[in-house]
């Protein structure tokens, strides 16, 4: 059970997903806090954030992690992910633009499935890393 958006036979190592880019605002952060239930004040309370020495609030890692997962499932289809692993390498501040994408690193068969490994990234337009990650995806086959 999965969306069939991308077929194993149509993928080559080095292929890149379409990029998803977004200028992050405080509204995005507040919406994600409400939907995701993360009310840590460092993400939503500017007065608290500045009181502990931060320049402002910053986005939850899993917010950009959610946008990155969306970039991936827009491309490979929902229901195909087997593993999604991300490391938060930099904070995302309001007003910053993030660029989410995936690159195919390898193709192989495992557990009776045709799988690809992807390298994942979220960066800003200057190339500063926000997330690095990997995904294991099981793709449908035309066979």
């Amino acid at each position: 059970m999965a969306e069939k958006k991308l077929y194993y036979e149509d993928v080559s190592e080095g292929d890149e997903s379409p990029e998803l880019s977004l200028e992050v605002t405080r509204t995005h952060i507040v919406k994600y806090a409400g939907a995701g239930g993360d009310f840590n004040p460092i993400h939503t309370d500017e007065a608290f954030a500045t009181s502990i020495g931060l320049p402002s609030v910053f986005a939850m890692g899993l917010m950009q992690g959610g946008y990155l997962a969306r970039a991936l499932t827009d491309w490979v289809g929902l229901g195909t992910l087997r593993l999604y692993k991300i490391r938060f390498t930099g904070q995302v501040w309001p007003g910053e633009t993030i660029i989410c994408k995936a690159i195919v690193k390898s193709k192989y068969e495992e557990h009776g499935e045709k799988r690809i490994d992807c390298e994942l990234s979220v960066t800003n337009p200057d190339g500063d890393s926000k997330i690095t990650g990997t995904a294991v995806v099981a793709l449908p086959s035309k066979e």
Partner: protein
């Protein structure tokens, strides 16, 4: 350290709200007929949706309180990594049982001196059929104050 297990219902409205917060317009999160047409029992959960459960499902600020209980300060800690292992689909109408525990906890020297605390929390989710559906792991990193 293990935290009390909790049971909860996967709701369509919450899935839609979560997908919308991420600007995700895939009809699979709102159109049940489409979701069924590609093989899901009902509206499926987005890939990172489970991350929201620990925050607010058992009680408000469960994760913040859990961190406090472990002596981790919100002001000096960061969420370093998240890992989601997908074993079976999670769909609206499912009743999941979640069990969170501290899987790993160690200290080491930071690059710029000072001790760092590494805490991995693992949550496992089992559905109403007793089928494990997902395993999530979160790494929190805390700088210990140099007092």
């Amino acid at each position: 350290m293990e935290f009390p297990a909790f049971e909860f219902l996967i709701e369509k409205g919450k899935i839609k709200e979560f997908a919308r917060a991420l600007g995700d317009s895939n009809p699979i999160y709102t159109d049940e007929e489409y979701a069924r047409s590609v093989g899901f029992r009902s509206i499926p959960a987005p890939p990172t949706y489970t991350a929201s459960f620990l925050h607010h499902v058992p009680d408000e600020n469960f994760l913040l309180n859990m961190m406090e209980q472990m002596g981790i300060s919100v002001a000096t800690s960061v969420h370093g990594e998240s890992e989601f292992e997908y074993l079976a689909p999670i769909c609206a109408g499912d009743v999941l049982t979640a069990q969170a525990r501290v899987k790993d906890h160690y200290r080491k020297e930071g690059k710029r001196g000072g001790k760092m605390n590494f805490i991995t929390v693992e949550a496992t989710y089992v559905n109403q059929e007793g089928e494990p559906v997902q395993k999530d792991r979160m790494l929190f990193i805390e700088r210990e104050s140099a007092v």
